[in-house]
């Protein structure tokens, strides 16, 4: 029998170097290292480094990474196969990932031969978009297109819109004058609700962590932004990274965090560089972590699992992150847009409560729009030059479709809730007269099926059965039971899934059927 034991597959010199650059060089003369502290959290960075060096993760690289980090190879294999952007199959050094998601499909995206289809790349205002990954001695990732559009807004987006450079860190200085308790009191007194989707009051979250006697506390900035149609956090990180880093410094100061992490999706190379540069310039203890292609890792507890070197499987809550988050310690997790509100709150110069909206699809002026909460959607659509719309998808794949007669909706948390919809991550995708809504619905169903972590039955199997029923309806092969099946699936996924992914996987689909009459 051939010797297949994984640990015997040797890495190449290049792979060894790439992995050593992450985990440290191997002490000479022994391969059983006495470990001082668990280093499992370096697994994903090590696999990523090996892949960026040679294009994919070979058995030798996987075996070497697991040996160096003392992770059982089966376990490391489980982690590596979780992430869509880690390839365990040989492939060329250069790979083109072509977005086939909602906004790019509206702009006629095609996948050329040899390229791989990708879910939303967060470049929706520039659709059709793609990402070229180039492995080698000088690995790099190139976002296509590379140009950037002007933004529309005058509070959070003011500096980007005017091109004004970032000045002194006045808000951080102000925070130090005030002291942690007063900073938290100011955030609590503000109307700030989390912008990552769940709309939780930020001040309460900060206070809960600050009060925890268990130490250390961690801050995690959630910059995984993978909700189809969302690109706001990318624009901030690319064009105003100091705003984010200053806000993180304030959050850490206020909540007693020893260390911070910012988890940026792999598809955002420019944002990664800009944020790293800003971290270095400000000199705070924040580590940049890079995703590897998994929407679910935007779910806060999956994100912790991912940083810790595990598969990105959401944890059951409670316990909540404020009590037991990253590495089991009290953790503040906030979205990028949430955080960049903080300096404004402390400086108190502009009290308007604004929100960022990511407008794409059939509009003349796609891009990022900052609006005061309560602005009617129709006004935003006019400003962006929307075509007469057949439908608007609000809130992303986990959001809902609106009919043309529903577009006067006020964009506020309360109005959205009253209308039974969600602003989600601020997604506004316009589907013009010629748009193919059936394809859009099928694409959303496929997205959830592909992105389910697979942990719980309602979502793992439910997203597959949902997509199958929709395909039967779309292809005229219906057996008559589809509506009942879809209704039952909606209920079990909402009620019994572990995390928000499964709980919302039927939202947009159900709204398309019920509200637009698509496939009804």
């Amino acid at each position: 029998m051939p010797d297949l034991k994984l640990l015997d597959a040797e890495p190449t010199e290049a792979e060894r170097e790439a992995i050593d650059a992450v985990v440290g060089a191997e002490p000479a003369g022994s391969d059983r290292v006495v470990r001082s502290r668990p280093r499992r959290h370096l697994l994903l960075p090590a696999l990523r480094a090996a892949q960026r060096r040679v294009g994919w993760v070979t058995a030798g690289a996987l075996g070497y990474a697991s040996r160096r980090l003392e992770i059982p190879p089966a376990d490391a294999y489980g982690v590596a196969t979780f992430y869509a952007l880690i390839s365990l199959e040989e492939r060329p050094a250069e790979v083109l990932h072509v977005c086939t998601d909602l906004s790019c499909a509206l702009k006629g995206a095609v996948v050329p031969e040899g390229a791989v289809p990708s879910p939303c790349l967060g470049l929706c205002e520039l659709a059709p978009a793609s990402l070229r990954t180039i492995a080698g001695e000088r690995p790099r990732e190139i976002q296509i297109p590379e140009e950037r559009l002007p933004v529309h807004g005058d509070k959070l987006l003011r500096r980007i819109a005017t091109g004004e450079p970032y000045g002194e860190l006045r808000a951080l200085a102000r925070a130090r004058e005030l002291g942690p308790e007063a900073v938290i009191a100011a955030v609590k007194a503000s109307p700030l609700l989390g912008r990552g989707g769940a709309a939780f009051p930020t001040g309460l979250k900060w206070e809960a962590v600050a009060r925890q006697p268990v130490k250390p506390h961690f801050l995690v900035c959630n910059a995984d932004e993978s909700e189809p149609g969302t690109f706001k956090d990318r624009v901030i990180m690319e064009q105003d990274p100091f705003a984010l880093v200053e806000a993180m410094a304030i959050a850490m100061f206020a909540t007693g965090c020893e260390k911070g992490y910012v988890y940026i999706r792999a598809e955002y190379p420019l944002a990664q560089r800009r944020v790293q540069d800003a971290i270095d310039a400000v000199g705070i203890d924040v580590e940049l972590r890079i995703g590897a292609g998994a929407y679910v890792c935007g779910e806060e507890t999956a994100l912790f699992q991912s940083i810790e070197g595990h598969r990105g499987e959401p944890r059951n809550k409670p316990p909540f992150p404020v009590e037991a988050g990253l590495f089991g310690k009290p953790t503040v997790v906030n979205n990028v847009e949430t955080l960049v509100n903080i300096p404004h709150i402390l400086l108190g110069e502009d009290g308007r409560d604004t929100r960022l909206f990511c407008v794409s699809g059939d509009v003349a002026r796609p891009g990022l729009y900052e609006l005061e909460l309560g602005t009617p959607l129709s006004q935003l659509l006019d400003t962006a030059g929307a075509e007469p719309a057949k439908a608007v998808l609000l809130g992303g794949a986990a959001g809902s479709f609106l009919r043309p007669d529903q577009l006067d909706l006020e964009l506020s948390f309360e109005a959205a809730r009253a209308a039974g919809v969600t602003l989600g991550s601020g997604v506004v995708i316009v589907f013009g007269e010629d748009a193919d809504l059936v394809s859009a619905v099928l694409r959303i169903a496929a997205f959830f099926r592909e992105e389910s972590c697979g942990q719980c039955v309602p979502c793992r199997v439910g997203t597959v059965r949902q997509e199958e029923a929709l395909h039967r309806l779309a292809s005229g092969a219906a057996n008559g039971d589809e509506r009942a099946v879809l209704a039952d699936l909606t209920q079990v996924m909402r009620d019994a899934s572990i995390c928000g992914l499964g709980q919302t996987a039927a939202n947009a689909v159900a709204s398309a059927i019920e509200n637009l009459g698509v496939l009804a």
Partner: protein, 269 residues
């Protein structure tokens, strides 16, 4: 702490909703929960309705808090449990999963309306046990038993994602090439027959597995000095399977390769 379940209020000291329900004699279905394993709360067949919660909650892992009001047999609960079973039955061969089959009956689940499970796909790569992942419900029990909960061998893990998630060795190598030490503790916890001793597998293939006729005899393992209790499952005067009681304070249901599989000598008379 006080908790009200299905209209009856009781006093408990901590524990989970499942513990409280059991204490009150309420039979709650479970598949991924095991008395000797850390709850992974993945199957969701145990969900109950907790007043004030947006979604249903898993009874097996949700800790009791003072004043909780819980419903275990509401329409919402029954629908989710029935759907979980339909989803499983439509994607997994449950023919050797007695608990799951009983729940399918109890909740009137009709898996066939959602799809048909895959054909059997036994992988026979060693003489001691057979793996057939067409029967796997991904309850994670085997992974936990092989890992920190019991054996600390870590030969298997969940690989892949979504519907493609599966139990696998590194790079899917055959068991003899993996770290597996054949303790069979995964076989002992598997609730579906996806992991099955070779003797049982062969007898089933031959149509000769007659569980109702089998006698169970407890004895002490003859191999080393630890003194594990063995339960010998005997059919036609031959040992066909060896287990150890879950509530045994030394084994907690676990054995090593010798105790679990080293029974043939007893028959080579």
């Amino acid at each position: 702490m006080r908790i009200t379940i299905d209209g009856v209020t009781t006093e408990v000291d901590g524990g989970t909703i499942l513990d409280a329900a059991r204490q009150m004699g309420i039979d709650t279905p479970t598949l991924c929960y095991g008395d000797t394993l850390t709850p992974v709360n993945a199957c969701r067949v145990c969900v109950v309705e907790l007043e004030g919660a947006r979604t249903l909650v898993p009874a097996c892992s949700r800790r009791v808090e003072d004043g909780m009001v819980v419903h275990t047999d509401s329409e919402r609960v029954r629908t989710s449990r029935r759907m979980v079973l339909e989803l499983l039955g439509s994607s997994v061969d449950l023919s050797t999963a007695p608990d799951a089959l009983a729940y399918v009956d109890r909740y009137g689940a009709e898996p066939a309306r959602l799809g048909t499970p895959p054909a059997p796909a036994p992988r026979i790569d060693n003489d001691l046990y057979v793996r057939d992942y067409s029967k796997c419900i991904l309850c994670y029990k085997c992974v936990e038993a092989c890992g920190v909960d019991h054996q600390n061998t870590f030969a298997i893990a969940v690989a892949g994602r979504g519907f493609d998630a599966r139990i696998s060795t590194e790079l899917d190598v055959a068991l003899p090439d993996s770290a597996c030490v054949y303790c069979g503790n995964c076989v002992a916890v598997c609730p579906t027959g996806a992991l099955m001793g070779k003797t049982e597998f062969d007898l089933r293939e031959a149509g000769n597995w007659r569980e109702e006729e089998q006698a169970q005899v407890d004895t002490v393992c003859p191999y080393c000095g630890v003194g594990c209790t063995l339960t010998l499952h005997v059919q036609d005067d031959a040992i066909v399977k060896v287990t150890s009681p879950d509530d045994h304070d030394v084994t907690r249901g676990n054995l090593c390769i010798k105790g679990r599989f080293g029974y043939r000598y007893a028959q080579n008379r």
